[in-house]
C-alpha cells in the first residue's frame, strides 16, 4: 500500500471505533474498555481486546445527570457514549484513579452503565518507593481477579510475558513513526493524529504491523516542503477542526506531550522476577505527566527540551477545560518556554466544542508570532 492508502486505513479506524469493536465481537473476542494508563497488557494476555474509551466529540445530555457542570468533558462524554449503547458488547471498563474526575467517573459508570462492569484500578500517589510498587501490584492483582470472575481465561504470567513483548514492540514502532512523521511535513496533522488514535482501537500486534508498513512506505517517500514546526501538549489533541486549522496555517506538529499520543510510549518494562512485576515497573518509571504525582515538575523541563531537540519554534498547549492538573502546570510551562525562547499558545478545548473561531484566531496569531 502507498503512504496515502495506509494513512487512509488509520483514518477509517480512528474515525469509527465502533466498527472495530463490532468486528472483534463478531470474531468472538471479548472487549474490555481502557483509558489513562490502564494495565491493558493484562487484558491482552487474558485473550481479550483492550479498547480505548476516551470519550468523543458528542453532545452531552444523559451523562449530565451524574456529573456536576464544571467537570472534564472527556469522562462525561465516555459515560454518555456508554449510556447510549456505543460500547455495547464490552465486558468491562477498567477505570483508573488518576484524577478526581476519573474517580467520580468510576462511581457514576457503575450506576449509569450497569451492563458493562466497572473495574477500578487504584494507583498509589507515590509510585517510586517500593511500597508504591507493591500497591500498584496489588491493584493489578485485583484487576486480574475481577477479569477472571467475569469469565476471561485464567491469568498466566507466561502469557503476560508474551503480551509485554507485543507491547514493547508497539512502543518501539510508535516512537519510530513519531520521529519519522516529523521529517515528513506532507503528512497532515489529522493524519498524524489518526496514527496515534487508531492504536486505541486495534490489537497492538495488528497496529504494529500497519505502523511498520507506514514506516517502510515513508522511508521510500521524498519529504515535502518544510512547514512551521510546533510541539503540542495536553490530554487530547484529536478534534478534527483544531487539526484542520493547524494544517491550514502551515503548522506541523513535530513532537508532542499529549496523553493520548507519545506520553503512552515513553516508558518501557524493566527485567523483573515476574512479568507482572515488569508491568508494575513500567508504571512506576513513568514520569513527566500531568496525572502522575511529580513534586519536581519534571514535565516542564521535558517539554522545553523536547521542543528544542525537535526544532519546534513554539508550544501549543491544549488545555482541557476543567482539568485542574493541566491548569496548574500551564503557568510554569509558559514561563519555562519563554525563558528558553519558545513561544507558547494556550487554547482551552473540550469534547463539546462546536465553534472554533476563537481557536482559529488564536492559532493564526500564533503563526504570525512564530513567523516574526
Amino acid at each position: 500500500m502507498s503512504v496515502k492508502e495506509i494513512l487512509g486505513r488509520f483514518h477509517e479506524i480512528a474515525a469509527d471505533p465502533k466498527a472495530m469493536k463490532d468486528k472483534y465481537l463478531s470474531e468472538g473476542r471479548e472487549i474490555v474498555l481502557v483509558n489513562y494508563y490502564t494495565p491493558e497488557e493484562i487484558v491482552h494476555s487474558m485473550g481479550a481486546v483492550p479498547m480505548g474509551a476516551w470519550g468523543a466529540d458528542v453532545k452531552i445530555n444523559e451523562a449530565k445527570k451524574y456529573f456536576p457542570t464544571f467537570i472534564c468533558s472527556i469522562v462525561q462524554s465516555a459515560v454518555e457514549l456508554g449510556m447510549k449503547g456505543e460500547y455495547a458488547g464490552a465486558k468491562a471498563f477498567i477505570i483508573p484513579s488518576l484524577c478526581d474526575s476519573l474517580k467520580v467517573m468510576g462511581q457514576n459508570w457503575k450506576v449509569a452503565v450497569p451492563s458493562i462492569k466497572f473495574i477500578p484500578m487504584t494507583y498509589p500517589q507515590n509510585r517510586k518507593p517500593e511500597y508504591g510498587a507493591q500497591f500498584t501490584k496489588a491493584g493489578y492483582e485485583r484487576v486480574i481477579s475481577e477479569l477472571e470472575e467475569l469469565g476471561l481465561p485464567r491469568f498466566s504470567d507466561e502469557k503476560l510475558k508474551a503480551s509485554l513483548s507485543v507491547y514493547e514492540e508497539h512502543n518501539r514502532v510508535m516512537n519510530e513513526v513519531s520521529e519519522l512523521m516529523a521529517s515528513h511535513p506532507e503528512i497532515s496533522n489529522q493524519e498524524r493524529s489518526d496514527v496515534f488514535k487508531s492504536a486505541f482501537f486495534m490489537l497492538k500486534e495488528e497496529h504494529t504491523a500497519l505502523v511498520k508498513e507506514l514506516i517502510n512506505a515513508l522511508k521510500e517517500q521524498k519529504p515535502g516542503t518544510d512547514k512551521l514546526k510546533i510541539m503540542t501538549s495536553g490530554i487530547i489533541c484529536d478534534a478534527p477542526d483544531i487539526l484542520k486549522i493547524l494544517d491550514e496555517n502551515g503548522l506541523q506538529i513535530v513532537c508532542d506531550d499529549v496523553c493520548t499520543e507519545t506520553r503512552q510510549y515513553r516508558a518501557s518494562y524493566k527485567e523483573k522476577a515476574t512479568a507482572l512485576d515488569s508491568l508494575v515497573s513500567k508504571f512506576c518509571d513513568m514520569d513527566q505527566d500531568t496525572l502522575l504525582y511529580d513534586a519536581d515538575k519534571t514535565r516542564i523541563d521535558y517539554i522545553v527540551e523536547k521542543a528544542k531537540k525537535t526544532g519546534a519554534k513554539g508550544v501549543l498547549l491544549l488545555l482541557t477545560k476543567f482539568c485542574d492538573p493541566e491548569e496548574f502546570d500551564a503557568p510554569m510551562i509558559r514561563k519555562a518556554c519563554e525563558k528558553a525562547g519558545l513561544s507558547v499558545n494556550i487554547i482551552e478545548i473540550d469534547r463539546q466544542m462546536v465553534n472554533y473561531e476563537q481557536a482559529r484566531t488564536s492559532i493564526e496569531t500564533f503563526r504570525d508570532l512564530l513567523n516574526g
Binding site: 503557568p331 509558559r334 519563554e338 513561544s343 507558547v344 494556550i346 482551552e348 473561531e357 476563537q358 484566531t361 488564536s362 493564526e364 496569531t365 504570525d368 508570532l369 516574526g372
Partner: protein, 256 residues
C-alpha cells in the same frame, strides 16, 4: 498608493483608507458586524469620504471575526496581529495593548520595535467584554455611551462580586432593589470589567506604554479602573476602536 483595512467584529464594522502606509485618509464605523450590511456600508462610506473608488485601492486586508467571509479582501489577518500594527502606528512607544471587544478580550505584548512577542485571549466567557457592558446597560436602561459619565459621579463604587455575566445580572438587580445609587452601580460594573481583564493582562509582563483598543476603550470608567488595577497609565486614542482596521490597512500596504 491607497490601501484598505476592514475590521468586521461581532458588534461593529470598521474601515480605514490609508495613503502610502503613513496617512489615514478616511475611516468609518457602523454598528452591526458579521452577517449584517454594515461591512458593506462601512466600506462605501470610507471610500466616499476619501473621494476614491475600489479601482484606486492597491490592496485590502480584512480582520476581525468576519474576516474569512470578506470576498473582496486580498488578505485575511487575525485581529491580534492587526491591533498590534494599528496600536503601534498610533502610539509608536506602546509595548502592551489591552483590547476589549464586543465578545472577547485580548492582551498583546510588543517588543521595542513594535513586533508582537506574546499574546493572550480570554476564556470563552462574556465577562470582561463589551457584551457584559451591553447586558448591564440593558438592565439599567442606560445607553452604553452614557455609562462613563454616570460612573464619574459615583460616591462609593459598588462591588459586583460575580465574574459570570448571568450571575452578575441578578446581582445588579438585587443591588438596584436594595437602593444602591445608579452611578455607584455603574462604576462597579466598569470596575468588574476592568478587574477581569486586568487579571488576564497580569499573566503577561505589563511593560509601559500601555494602551487600550476596541470599543470598550472608549469607556473612561473602565479605563480608569484598569489604571488602578495595573498601576500604570493607560494611553487612549479617539481612534482606539479603529486600531484593527488601521492595522489591516497597514498590513495590506506592507504586502502590496
Amino acid at each position: 498608493m491607497y490601501t484598505f483595512g476592514i475590521d468586521i467584529g461581532s458588534t461593529t464594522s470598521k474601515c480605514v483608507v490609508l495613503k502610502d502606509g503613513t496617512e489615514i485618509v478616511s475611516s468609518s464605523l457602523f454598528v452591526g458586524g458579521i452577517g449584517t450590511k454594515s461591512p458593506f456600508l462601512a466600506r462605501e462610506e470610507a471610500l466616499k469620504k476619501a473621494g476614491i473608488t475600489d479601482k484606486d485601492i492597491s490592496g485590502t486586508a480584512a480582520t476581525g471575526y468576519g474576516r474569512n467571509r470578506t470576498e473582496d479582501a486580498d488578505f485575511n489577518v487575525s485581529e491580534l496581529s492587526c491591533h498590534a500594527l494599528g496600536a503601534h502606528f498610533i502610539f509608536p512607544r506602546v509595548r502592551t495593548i489591552i483590547d476589549i471587544g464586543g465578545q472577547d478580550a485580548k492582551v498583546i505584548s510588543l517588543s521595542g520595535d513594535g513586533k508582537m512577542r506574546d499574546f493572550l485571549m480570554n476564556d470563552k466567557c462574556a465577562a470582561g467584554t463589551g457584551r457584559f457592558l451591553d447586558v448591564m446597560a440593558a438592565i439599567l436602561q442606560v445607553p452604553v455611551n452614557e455609562m462613563e459619565g454616570m460612573a464619574q459621579k459615583a460616591q462609593k463604587i459598588s462591588q459586583i462580586s460575580s465574574t459570570c455575566t448571568v450571575f452578575a445580572e441578578s446581582e445588579v438587580i438585587s443591588q438596584l432593589a436594595n437602593g444602591v445609587e445608579m452611578p455607584d452601580l455603574i462604576a462597579g460594573i466598569c470596575d468588574s470589567v476592568a478587574g477581569r481583564v486586568a487579571s488576564l493582562a497580569k499573566r503577561i509582563t505589563i511593560v509601559p506604554e500601555v494602551c487600550m483598543s476596541g470599543g470598550v476603550a472608549r469607556n473612561g470608567g473602565v479605563r480608569l479602573a484598569m489604571e488602578r488595577y495595573l498601576g500604570t497609565e493607560i494611553r487612549f486614542s479617539e481612534q482606539a476602536q479603529l486600531f484593527g482596521a488601521i492595522g489591516a490597512a497597514l498590513y495590506a500596504f506592507q504586502k502590496s
